[in-house]
């Protein structure tokens, strides 16, 4: 498949994520949108990695050049999983305190 398809898909996913973060008020939805953006970037990274690797293979059949990002993505996923657990814990704490998950309640940064 041409690289453009991956790029379009990643851009669409990222834009949906941004729009969701900007427009939705439910903290859980906002959180899901953030994950969406993260995965859009992951997708793009894997796609470019594959592209590079394919180019390197032409000159040298045994090379691993360009395949590092495939590993990075796993790290990013692991960190994202950790982040999700922290984020959800915050949201749970928020619900316990204000009985709501509307992010407009989070306007205390002013003071």
């Amino acid at each position: 498949m041409p690289i453009e398809y991956y790029i379009y898909l990643a851009v669409i996913l990222f834009s949906i994520g941004v729009t969701g973060v900007l427009t939705r008020r439910n903290a859980i939805v906002v959180f899901m949108c953030i994950e969406l953006m993260l995965n859009a970037v992951n997708l793009l990274m894997v796609a470019f990695s594959k592209l590079h690797h394919a180019k390197a293979l032409v000159s040298d059949a045994a090379t691993t050049t360009g395949s590092e990002a495939q590993i990075f993505v796993f790290f990013i996923m692991v960190v994202a999983a950790a982040e999700v657990s922290v984020g959800l814990a915050i949201i749970v704490m928020m619900y316990r305190n204000v009985y709501n998950v509307d992010i407009n309640f989070l306007n205390r940064l002013k003071n």
Binding site: V18, V21, L22, R25, I103, N104, L106, N107, R108, L109, K110, N111
Partner: protein, 631 residues
């Protein structure tokens, strides 16, 4: 012995540190001992150095490199030759006597002030030694500034008196004006010759610089000399410097400070010899100062003021001597003047001491029988300064006047007029103090001073009497001018450049001597007769007397044309420019910042969604900007 010369300034400096730092711990006698002994050791070393130089062992001693920038190297070096060794003897010798005198004179001070006084006195001697020993203009300048500082400290020694503080400030400011000229000359010399070392500069002459450049440099140096040596137009600080204790006046007038200008010009003799215009300026300034100061001295009633103006006048003679090329004569006069002026000031101090700090001549009179030693020594001092043979002043003044005659008879006539005025005001001082009836209305009888004072006076009187024999003119004996032979190497390169003047024949010289001596004697006799009958009157001074008593209104003139406009300008800048200009601008900046931050604060709503929106928009903008710049 040359290797030990670095000790000469070091000892007084050590004395300054000791007395200054331990002023609260040391007793008065310990401080006096430190002060006197350090200068005395310096004097002993100077004596050895002098005898070495007499044997022809002069040279330069480089201690370390003081400034090193690219090609410009200014070493911290001492130059020991005939000229500096003479000055070393004068400074340490007379300085030592003044230190001894001070131990008695300043006895009433509390011990920490006493120590402060001696530490300043030692620092003064140290600075002056640095000035005359420096082998280049920069080291000389360090000493030059040092004596300015010390004169300020000592004139303002009684710092609780506002008037004294003002006198100290005046001295400092006047000196600073002169120092600027000196500094410009030093920079000019660096630009022109690439060095400030005397020998290196003189080696490049003649030919190293055009006459115009040399004239500029020498005139700038001369501005420095007018400040330090109290010549027109910067002389007014010296009479005000009487605010300091009397031994300080003696030190400033005799051993240190005011002779610095003479030394500097004598040291730069080759530069001056190659710049005839500067020589004329020096001679005329000296002559005018000599006459002006002498006329002012005629009508002063403060004993120290009379002596102060007399110093200004004598310094004028020295500059006249330098200006007409009589470098030896000028240095000779510095030496004899150091003796008799120190004597006169210390004698005046003794009188003031005896009269319980009364300084007004009108309240003296008839002190001859109360102060026998002071009286005799002062009489010798007066005769010496008036120029009565065979006392020292006669020889040195005569040498300058003869050279002035050879250069231009007008100089001689005016100079002789000044000498007559000198005789007049000195014997007016003498007669009003020691002769006539007692006009002292105090209850205490005057008493002779302690031994530390009288011994010093006697030593100085002997020196004033015989000091002149170092320079007996050829008129009296062939080759008897020892000082001239001694100093000849210093001036040997400038001498041929100045030899154009015909030396007057012996007959003329005899005649000039006879006329001047006879006139001076007549003046002395007449003054003594008229002023020994002096009675106090309350009559207001009129006409020319009033003009002279008010010092030609020079202070008022300076006040009017310099101080007042400057103050007005300062007031204008302070009230108008500062208040409505600078202050408004500065406050405006502050107000702008606080106003804009008050407005900017509203952006911080506290709403997370808003922040995220702003963040996203900003990131998009930045990415656009980066693309815009790169492609």
């Amino acid at each position: 012995m040359l290797k030990l010369t670095y000790l000469i300034p070091l000892f007084p400096f050590a004395g300054f540190l000791l007395a200054g730092l331990l002023r609260n711990r040391l007793s008065k006698s310990a401080v006096g001992l430190i002060g006197c002994s350090t200068v005395f050791v310096a004097f002993i070393i100077s004596l050895f150095v002098f005898f070495d130089v007499l044997k022809g062992k002069s040279g330069t001693l480089t201690l370390f490199n003081f400034i090193e920038v690219d090609k410009l190297v200014i070493p911290f070096a001492y130059q020991i030759d005939q000229l500096s060794s003479i000055f070393l003897l004068i400074i340490t010798g007379v300085g030592f006597l003044i230190h001894v005198y001070s131990t008695a004179y300043m006895h009433e001070e509390s011990s920490d002030h006493y120590a402060r006084y001696f530490s300043y006195l030692n620092l003064f001697v140290f600075s002056m030694l640095l000035l005359v020993m420096g082998a280049n203009y920069v080291i000389m300048f360090i000493g030059w500034e040092g004596v300015g500082l010390c004169s300020y400290l000592l004139i303002g020694y009684w710092f609780k008196n506002t008037e004294y503080n003002n006198a100290a400030k005046k001295a400092f400011v006047m000196n600073r004006i002169g120092d600027l000229g000196f500094l410009i000359a030093v920079f000019w010399m660096i630009a022109q010759f690439g060095t400030t070392t005397f020998t290196d500069i003189f080696a490049q002459l003649p030919g190293g610089a055009s006459t115009a450049v040399l004239t500029g440099i020498t005139l700038c140096l001369f501005i420095g000399a007018t400040g330090k040596s109290a010549q027109i137009p910067l002389y007014t600080w010296l009479p005000d410097a009487m605010a300091g204790p009397t031994p300080v006046s003696a030190l400033i007038h005799a051993a240190t400070m005011v002779t610095a200008g003479i030394y500097m010009i004598a040291r730069s003799n080759l530069l001056y010899a190659l710049a005839p215009i500067s020589m004329h300026v020096v001679a005329i300034t000296g002559l005018v100062t000599a006459i002006l100061a002498a006329t002012i001295a005629l009508k002063q009633n403060d004993i120290k003021k009379v002596l102060a103006y007399s110093t200004v006048s004598q310094l004028g003679y020295m500059f006249l001597g330098l200006g007409v090329g009589a470098f030896t004569g000028a240095v000779f006069h510095v030496m004899t003047h150091a003796f008799f002026k120190a004597l006169l000031f210390l004698g005046a101090g003794s009188v003031i001491h005896a009269m319980h700090h009364q300084q007004d001549l009108r309240f003296y009179g008839g002190l001859k029988k109360h102060l026998p030693i002071t009286h005799i020594t002062m009489l010798i001092g007066c005769l010496a300064i008036a120029g009565i043979p065979p006392l020292s002043g006669f020889f040195s003044k005569d040498e300058i006047l003869i050279h002035a005659f050879a250069s231009n008879p007008v100089y001689y006539v005016v100079g002789l007029g000044g000498a007559l005025l000198t005789a007049f005001y000195m014997f007016r001082l003498y007669a009003m103090t020691f002769l006539g009836s007692e006009r002292n209305d105090g209850h205490h009888a005057p008493h002779e001073s302690p031994k530390a004072i009288t011994y010093v006076l006697v030593i100085l009187a002997v020196l004033s009497a015989v000091g002149g024999f170092a320079g007996i003119p050829e008129l009296f004996a062939q080759n008897a001018h020892k000082l001239k032979n001694f100093l000849a190497p210093v001036f040997e390169r400038s001498a041929p450049l100045l030899a154009s003047h015909e030396h007057p024949s012996h007959t003329t010289e005899w005649m000039l001597l006879g006329v001047s001596t006879a006139l001076i004697l007549a003046i002395i006799v007449w003054t003594n007769r008229s002023y020994s009958r002096y009675q106090k009157t309350d009559a207001e001074q009129q006409g020319i007397s009033k003009l002279l008593a008010n010092k030609w209104y020079v202070d008022e003139l300076y006040n009017g044309i310099i101080a007042k406009p400057l103050l007005a300008l300062g007031g204008f800048l302070g009230t108008v420019v500062e208040k409505s200009g600078i202050d408004k601008a500065v406050n405006g900046v502050g107000k702008l910042v606080s106003y804009s931050s008050r407005q900017l604060r509203l952006v911080q709503s506290g709403n997370v969604a808003n922040y995220v929106l702003i963040m996203v928009v900003a990131i998009i903008l930045i990415i656009r900007l980066v693309f815009y710049i790169r492609y």
